[in-house]
Symmetry: C2
Subunit: 237 residues, 2 copies
DNA sequence: GCAAAAGTGTTGAGTTTACACCCATGA
DNA sequence: TCATGGGTGTAAACTCAACACTTTTGC
């Protein structure tokens, strides 16, 4: 059965971009739609995938075209394909999420789309299509993932203090504040942080600056994969 | 920009079906391709998605058409879209994985495809397209997921003993054997098992039969979502 | 000296691991 | 009575959570 006998849906790639600037909330990058459907409404950056590009590459391309933001961590999230989710016809969207540190990637500049802005994750505007649902799933995934994989580091500058790291975790997970002592012990125990210096010119004891050590992390992952199952299972729930 | 201005890729849904029959290995359901490309080679069940059907529904439809297997747990896995993964042109595959207990769903009967068979997961034939890669990802996901979500129950009959459950976990995770005492304590502590009787006619002390209690599980999930974060984070690695 | 945030010691409660043992059944 | 798998008691090792305390800086 050759391909051309089949009706073909359109395929888009959309990106949920989380940004962090050290504050007490996560930001989300949205664009204002310049044309119908949903003209004038806010939506996720994204667009139709090209015939000769990988999905992730398409996501990054659309993101740069529409918002000017590039060079960030991106990962596939889920594919949304319910018939009727787009009034133009059958459109299947391969959704991605991305993480970015706002101090490295300054204010997104528009080009394709009429407007681009960062919104606080808990003060989002009304969204086009099923994008609210996509964002909800991305948020859930981010919260789950940050607890067992060091993706949080993508949201921080190259060098950071343990206080900053802890504030980030509290922000992502939305918990009030957890015990400093125990947070430090846990993070440092993993060995994935590397000391790189000390804070300067702060009106308190200067904190040690750390950097994420990817090599050590990879070692840990391999150790785990190649046996030595610490706990057989863990219905943490 | 209306949809029809864009070139459209084809979209397929493929399913990695894991089966378990109580033995010491997991099985995988494959079909032998009846036409080119890859004619005669083994491949995942799947096919082109219809214009008016949901992705998951398409996966289940193709699965039933090609193998006769139906009524099983299915979940989206990942979308594979590298250009060149299908010699017919741009084909994007939304891969799913499914779990099935072989005693409930007897030998798959062919219809569309020329042949259908269950293979042991560690003795797979050469596979068409990038299906080996898809299976690898599905296996990784299954192993990860079974450790924190009770999906294992989909692979067992309605009622089962703790011994059977433990054997299943050992099979999925590929570990030699873990401590009986501790496995039992952990599973029972969660409260998601419900006693339903006792084994009959076995040449040893009859085991208690259990059933998975979905209601209790849902309660646990809600408890977790609505606060009471037991551990703030857990770089288990 | 004071405020502010960094960083540390410690202890009781709780959890995990490991091993040894007893139990009920059919053959 | 034996073999087989089901099921339990428990103690030492370890981990977690919580709290109070000391340190270092700029002003």
């Amino acid at each position: 059965m050759p391909t051309y006998e089949h009706p073909r849906p359109s395929v888009t790639v959309d990106v949920v971009v989380f940004g962090y600037d050290g504050g007490h909330d996560l930001k989300l990058l949205l664009i204002q739609r310049g044309s119908d459907p949903y003209q004038g409404q806010w939506a996720l950056p994204g667009g139709f995938v090209e015939m000769d590009e990988d999905l992730e590459a398409g996501a990054l391309r659309e993101l740069e075209e529409e918002t000017g933001v590039k060079d960030l961590f991106v990962e596939q999230l889920y594919t949304f394909g319910k018939p009727g989710r787009d009034p133009r016809g059958r459109v299947i969207s391969v959704a991605h999420y991305a993480l970015v540190n706002l101090s490295k990637h300054p204010a997104a500049a528009a080009s394709d789309a009429s407007e681009v802005a960062w919104f606080s994750l808990d003060k989002l505007p009304e969204l086009a299509f099923d994008h609210a649902e996509i964002i909800k799933l991305a948020t859930t995934r981010l919260r789950a993932k940050v607890r067992y994989q060091p993706i949080g580091f993508e949201l921080l500058p190259e060098e950071f203090t343990l206080g900053e790291l802890q504030a980030l975790y509290e922000t992502i997970l939305g918990v009030p504040e957890f015990n400093k002592r125990n947070f430090r012990t846990r993070i440092l125990r993993t060995g994935i942080l590397e000391e790189v210096g000390r804070q300067q010119n702060v009106a308190h004891r200067p904190a040690i600056l750390y950097r994420f050590n990817e090599a050590t992390y990879q070692q840990l992952v391999e150790q785990r994969d190649s046996g030595v199952l610490r706990r057989a299972l863990d219905f943490e729930i």
